[in-house]
């Protein structure tokens, strides 16, 4: 049932390379598209291609190919992202969008560990993202700490504040635990809004990043071409997203990932076989908030300015919808989902407020036809080649 020989590709490397080429080229076209007809045509093309790919089991084939050659798949994904960054090296707007997609994906990787693996729904993702950003604003403006250390400290701040929530989250279950996180998200925003030290509703400025004596905000010239300073940030976001992705994948394919899955699916059986339920939920919650905090830290430095309105409850919902749309528990589904959720509304500017209607309809349609998300989570294989028996 789980193995469909017809969709197993004969030359996985070639298939992966082709898929990367097609997707990168499409994204390049899509990010370029300015006119109504252009965007509409590309959307129609994507829908048709999506339907055809589903019919021909192309998506499944690419997935299997990716599982066979995981190293190559990751290298190609990074190469595709680098190509896009290079292609848009002059465009502030597009690069900022790429940064946002990558950093939201990073935060959503954290939510995947919490919700997808351990079953702890966190409706305050944007709040933890915000804690990271605010911690960075305070630390970078008031201390001379190296910025790389500030990144880590900001993540730790999010994890630490999150640990205050652990007791109520562990004492409640399911919907009730979700309510606790909703309350916290609202609390966070209100607290920032009324707190004058943190800038109140006007927000705070965040200094740009300095890495090993190099100011990322300066921008640079490469081979005679002016490169937007956002390109450096896009590279940094890509490195962060890639690193966290590798960690989350390793986590999924370890005893810890297994323990989290068992805790999520059956707490009684888990306890009977010695698993400490609270321990794994705490590990997942703290780790997820750390990732969200680090992502928020970089986001703050990129935008240079943060305000309570950047980290609202709707933003948290946006993050969770990326997690669910991508396929709950599947790290690889987050990136396409983040592109749809974050980039599409920007590209639909021309229909003004109707864009949210169209975009919402699209998300519902996707979940109607793919109820488990764009790329549903597959059964765990600890290593891509199982040992010989």
């Amino acid at each position: 049932m789980s193995r469909t020989p017809s969709s197993a590709p004969r030359r996985p490397g070639l298939l992966l390379a082709l898929a990367t080429l097609v997707v990168t080229f499409y994204l390049w076209l899509f990010l370029h598209a300015e006119t109504q007809t252009g965007v509409a045509l590309l959307l129609a093309l994507a829908l048709a291609a999506g339907l055809a790919a589903g019919r021909l089991r192309l998506v499944r084939s690419v997935e299997i190919a990716g599982n066979r050659r995981p190293g190559l798949a990751r290298a190609l994904a990074v190469a595709g992202a680098l190509a896009l960054i290079a292609a848009f090296h002059e465009s502030h707007f597009v690069l900022l969008m790429i940064c946002t997609v990558l950093l939201y994906t990073t935060a959503c990787l954290g939510l995947t560990v919490q919700f997808g693996f351990s079953g702890v729904a966190n409706f305050a993702g944007a709040a933890f993202f915000g804690i990271g950003a605010y911690a960075t604003a305070v630390l970078a403006a008031n201390t001379g700490l190296p910025h790389l250390l500030i990144l880590v400290l900001s993540g730790a701040a999010a994890a630490l504040v999150g640990s205050l929530l652990i007791t109520p989250v562990l004492r409640t279950r399911g919907h009730y635990a979700a309510l606790v996180t909703i309350a916290f998200g609202i609390l966070f925003r209100t607290f920032i809004e009324v707190n004058d030290v943190l800038g109140g509703p006007q927000g705070l400025q965040v200094p740009g990043m300095r890495l090993f004596g190099y100011e990322l905000n300066d921008g640079f010239t490469l081979f005679g071409a002016d490169v937007s300073f956002y390109a450096s940030y896009a590279l940094l976001s890509l490195a962060l997203c890639g690193g966290v992705f590798a960690l989350v994948k390793a986590l999924e394919r370890s005893w810890i990932g297994l323990a989290m899955d068992v805790v999520r699916t059956d707490e009684t059986a888990a306890a009977t076989f010695g698993l400490h339920i609270a321990r794994w939920k705490v590990v997942a919650f703290v780790m997820g908030n750390f990732f969200a905090g680090v992502a928020g830290s970089v986001y703050g430095m990129i935008t240079g300015f943060i305000a309570p309105n950047n980290f609202t409850f709707p933003d948290s919902l946006l993050m969770l919808s990326i997690v669910v749309l991508g396929g709950l528990g599947n790290a690889a589904g987050l990136l396409p989902a983040a592109v749809i959720v974050l980039v599409l509304p920007e590209k639909l500017q021309f229909i003004q407020e109707y864009r949210f209607l169209l975009y919402a309809a699209l998300v519902i349609a996707i979940l109607l036809f793919r109820p488990d998300g764009l790329l549903p989570r597959r059964t765990r294989l600890f290593f891509h080649r199982e040992p010989q028996r």
Partner: protein, 260 residues
């Protein structure tokens, strides 16, 4: 004392509100025996398992396991002391593979460190491969056809295979006491027969293992238990060999109702 009695239950009472599920139960389990636990529905058999494995905390009374008090300890502690069980209604993680579901049975010996699991992937892989061998070895004994389907999700398997997977999960950590909660529930006659051979196999290969079996199928009880205890309304009403308990008038009344 631990040489003659592995589990010593004294005056065990479990109340849920107004309902008394276990009523001052006295019971001994001897090391190495296969004990059948019988009784009509609702007589407290599964409740006894749940108290013994720490899922419920007894209202009063005591359970000494290998001389140590068990009442009040967590399920995790009791598992570490060597008690493993199966459940009446299968409690496997359906989206996970056969391997995942069985290997979690030896959770206590896995390394749980973050650094080991996330960063030292070579070392992790070596441990993982040892576990694959261990699981395959167990499956070859009890359920060879499952070896080739090790990495398929449990959701794709029939009831009897799921039961076998549950038994393997319970056996993987080499427990001293194995609790089987109605393993034949929901199975055909042939499947029940197969499962019984499996359990007898377990007994032969692991001679030191003590087994407590909750079961309704009388021929199963007759074939594999050495001693039986019959419960009714949370009390022990009979104890002895299969022949003794089936001849007991109290047992006949509990199962068939009052004679005219």
């Amino acid at each position: 004392m631990s040489a003659t009695v592995l589990v010593d239950v004294r005056g065990l009472t479990m109340r849920f509100g107004g309902l008394t599920a276990l009523d001052a139960l006295d019971l001994q389990i001897r090391p190495g025996e296969v004990l059948g636990l019988l009784g009509p529905n609702g007589s407290g058999k599964t409740t006894f398992f749940n108290v013994l494995t720490g899922l419920y905390k007894a209202t009063s009374g005591s359970i000494a396991y290998d001389g140590q008090e068990v009442v009040g300890r967590t399920p995790q502690d009791i598992y570490r002391a060597g008690v493993a069980r199966t459940f009446q209604r299968s409690r496997l993680s359906l989206p996970l593979t056969v391997f995942d579901n069985i290997v979690i049975g030896d959770y206590q010996h896995m390394r749980h460190g973050l650094v080991f699991n996330l960063l030292r992937r070579r070392a992790f892989r070596a441990e993982y491969e040892r576990y694959v061998e261990k699981v395959v070895e167990l499956l070859r004994i009890f359920s060879p056809p499952l070896v080739d389907r090790l990495f398929e999700p449990v959701a794709a398997f029939s009831m009897i295979d799921r039961r076998r997977i549950e038994v393997c999960r319970a056996l993987l950590s080499r427990p001293r006491l194995l609790l089987l909660d109605e393993p034949s529930a929901g199975m055909t006659h042939e499947e029940t027969h197969e499962l019984m051979s499996d359990i007898l196999d377990v007994r032969e290969r692991l001679p030191g293992l003590t087994v407590v079996l909750i079961e309704h199928e009388m021929n199963v009880i007759e074939r594999i238990t050495q001693r039986c205890v019959v419960l009714n309304y949370g009390k022990k009403i009979a104890e002895g060999s299969y022949a003794e308990i089936t001849a007991d008038p109290q047992v006949q009344t509990a199962y068939l109702g009052e004679a005219e």
